[in-house]
């Protein structure tokens, strides 16, 4: 589904991702953890196609296609979804209208007719229930005046609406209260199926109690330095990153 090989990425003359490698198979959930500033968001943004990030070398194939050749909007229509760490406000555009445009852009890409109004509203209702989102939010401008937690929930709602095949979640858990965390995690779990893959970036093991990953990777200095099962997250929670840094240091020596 997603295969990243020797990816090197820089921004503003500074190299962030260094020979990054990762394989994600259909239906898998991968968690990425790691200290601040190691390049987790850079990875997510690069996969989503943000232009500021310069791909220096490497390959990324997504469902057999060269992801790096596609524009950001093409990637989205092909099924890459990024739940932003910092969702943006869209003045004057309601979530309903925003989703209508997005859903229909994807349908057009698939050679389908725009969804009719009744089906669309039904879909909205169904997905709103999934993330226990209040109807009131859909008529407000996208993210405008939303609390931090509401914005994150709105990201998962949009993800549910667009039914992507690769979901990138960048710290979707931060800023969520305990109930919201459970709701968001439930939403993600309901979207889980044998085809859909997830890359979950988080700082907290707690999220992984709800969204149980197949793999946990530790990222440090622009690459994955350790991979394991969900118990790796527990160990990080208990011991922090020092032992990883030591190990990496030893490797470097």
């Amino acid at each position: 589904m997603l295969s990243i090989r020797n990816l090197n990425v820089g921004i503003a003359e500074k190299q962030i991702l260094k020979d990054f490698n990762l394989e994600i198979k259909p239906g898998e959930i991968h968690a990425i953890m790691g200290p601040n500033g190691t390049g987790k968001s850079t990875l997510a943004s690069t996969l989503a196609g943000k232009e500021d990030y310069e791909v220096l070398s490497g390959e990324v194939s997504f469902n057999g296609k060269n992801l790096l050749e596609m524009s950001a909007d093409e990637r989205a229509r092909e099924g890459v979804f990024l739940a932003f760490q910092y969702p943006v406000e869209i003045p004057g555009v309601s979530t309903t209208n925003f989703m209508k445009a997005a859903v229909n852009a994807k349908r057009k890409h698939q050679g389908l007719e725009p969804m009719d109004a009744k089906d669309f509203l039904k879909l909205m209702r169904e997905k709103m229930t999934l993330v226990e989102m209040n109807k009131e939010f859909t008529s407000r401008s996208v993210n405008e005046g939303f609390s931090g937690g509401e914005k994150k929930r709105n990201e998962i709602f949009q993800m549910a609406m667009l039914e992507p095949s690769l979901c990138l979640l960048d710290e979707t858990d931060s800023g969520l209260d305990i109930d919201a965390l459970r709701i968001v995690a439930n939403g993600v779990n309901k979207l889980r199926d044998y085809k859909r893959s997830f890359l979950v970036i988080t700082h907290y093991q707690r999220l992984l109690n709800y969204i149980v990953p197949d793999y946990v990777h530790v990222m440090y200095g622009g690459k994955i330095v350790k991979s394991g099962g969900k118990e790796l997250a527990l160990k990080l929670e208990e011991q922090g990153y020092d032992w990883i840094k030591e190990e990496v240091g030893e490797l470097a020596n």
């Binding site: 950001a72 989205a76 869209i90």
Partner: protein, 481 residues
């Protein structure tokens, strides 16, 4: 999405799609402006003596006036002696039926998407077609006449409705009101005249389509709309011009009068040629539009969608004289490339319990400058006046500018004035967010703009709402990477 597709296709295919010229035989006034020019125009139009006198009075006033300099726009000095003040099609005198319209002119309007053919017109819209200095033809006039509605060119009204014209012409915008109004009063060549009699609700949209065709020609049209007691009319004007390297002057005057319980809804979709991407050419649009709510409980509502012109200088205003009268101003002003717009409104509260509402949406892209200038005056007599103003600016990119100049003059303490202003920006992060949901930059901008302008668009008659949305997408083509 199909609609969106069409828009994008047009965006890609066209820059300014109205930029062609029509080859018809025309006659012109000599270049430049003198008393003789004024006499020539008046004679061409076979005007009565009183009209010529009126024009000459304006001309003399104009000679003593100076070009205003207070607007936030910059342009080289206009040479008023290098402009041709009258251009009209050479043709047989009288047009009795649609078949008499020159095929080239019909062709022009066909290309503009507004065919001169009654049965093909947008359902229920009567149109007056004005090219350069002449009204070409007014459609549906017979069926309007049955209700006592007069809808004709102003030249015709001067000849056939002298009492009405004498009474109202210059009553809202006097000859010496301002420099360009004085100029217009001296040399105006055509425009529309509307009279809605007492108690009549005009059964269709009335519309004038203005087209500048000839080179080096100024267009000075004059529109006068009178809504008598208890009547209602919705009026729409549209404007385009060919692409030319020189700047062309458009200095129009519009006057509206509502009597007791009457209402006029005046909408404009202005798409004069804005100049090219380097800022060469384009129309100077210096317009005076003003309405007076003469009678009690009357209402005047201005809606404008301004996308064209190199320079726009225009403040549709309402004088709220009648008690309980209402003035409204809804505006979308788009500037791109090197366009400059200084536009807004004046709400002058004189009567008791008068209300006004201002919704201004400025959109600036490219290297353009967009200014909102609005004045609210509450006079001593205006007990319980109420005004609410909402002025929003949207910036696309970071080379453009938006400016807001609100002026308040409150002389009655029972009044209430509310002002709200916002500035937002379509930046890279916002576009990336939309891209990430599958939308192209064009789709994202078009979606954001339509959301942003919703409040104004919904004031427009249905058919023109779609037109206005398309126009906006086209105007903003290439404004994002």
């Amino acid at each position: 999405m199909a609609e969106n597709d069409k828009i994008i296709d047009e965006v890609v295919a066209n820059d300014y799609k109205y930029g062609f010229t029509t080859n018809i035989e025309q006659e012109f006034a000599a270049v430049g402006l003198s008393e003789d020019t004024v006499r020539f125009i008046s004679a061409k139009k076979e005007e009565p003596e009183w009209m010529l006198d009126w024009r000459l009075k304006a001309y003399k006033a104009w000679l003593k006036m100076e070009q205003p300099k207070w607007q936030n726009v910059h342009f080289p000095e206009i040479d008023f002696q290098s402009i041709i003040y009258y251009a009209a099609q050479k043709r047989k005198k009288v047009i009795n039926s649609l078949d008499d319209v020159d095929p080239e002119i019909r062709n022009t309007y066909d290309k503009l998407g507004i065919p001169i053919q009654e049965q093909k017109l947008l359902a229920g819209v009567a149109v007056d077609y004005v090219m350069d200095s002449e009204s070409v033809i007014t459609t549906f006039r017979e069926s309007l006449k049955e209700k006592g509605i007069i809808f004709c060119s102003i030249s015709e009204a001067i000849r056939e409705q002298p009492e009405l014209v004498k009474k109202y012409l210059g009553s809202v915008v006097p000859q010496r009101d301002n420099y360009y109004a004085a100029l217009n009063s001296a040399v105006f060549s055509d425009g529309s005249f509307v009279y809605i009699p007492k108690g009549v609700r005009c059964p269709m949209e009335l519309s004038t389509y203005f087209r500048i065709n000839a080179e080096n020609t100024g267009q000075f049209e004059r529109t006068l709309i009178i809504a008598d007691e208890g009547s209602y009319v919705s009026y729409l004007e549209g404007c385009t011009a060919p692409m030319r390297d020189e700047n062309q002057l458009h200095a129009a005057v519009v006057e509206l009068v509502t009597h007791d319980n009457a209402e006029i809804k005046y909408s404009t979709v202005q798409n004069w040629y804005p100049g090219d991407k380097e800022g060469k050419g384009g129309i100077y649009n210096f317009v005076t539009k003003r309405g007076i709510c003469q009678g009690k409980n009357s209402k005047i509502s201005w809606t404008q969608v301004e996308t064209g012109s190199a320079i726009t200088w225009k403040y549709p205003s309402c004088i709220l004289k009648g008690d309980n009268s209402i003035g409204e101003f809804y505006s979308v002003a788009v500037t791109n490339n090197y366009q400059q717009a200084d536009t807004g409104t004046k709400m002058i509260h004189i009567g008791k319990n008068t209300k006004s509402r201002i919704v201004s949406k400025g959109i600036s892209a490219g290297n353009s400058q967009n200014s909102y200038r609005g004045q609210v005056q509450v006079h001593r007599t205006a007990d319980n006046a109420y005004n609410s103003s909402q002025c929003d600016s949207l910036l696309i990119g970071d080379k453009c500018g938006a400016h807001t100049f609100p002026y308040l003059e409150i002389k009655n303490s029972t009044g209430k004035v509310e002002h709200e202003a916002t500035t937002s920006k379509i930046g890279e992060d916002l576009l990336f967010y939309c891209n990430q949901r599958g939308l192209t930059n064009e789709e994202a901008v078009s979606m954001i703009i339509n959301g942003y302008c919703k409040e104004v668009f919904k004031q427009l008659p249905m058919e023109f709402m779609v037109e206005a949305q398309k126009l906006l997408s086209i105007s903003l083509e290439g404004s994002v990477g």
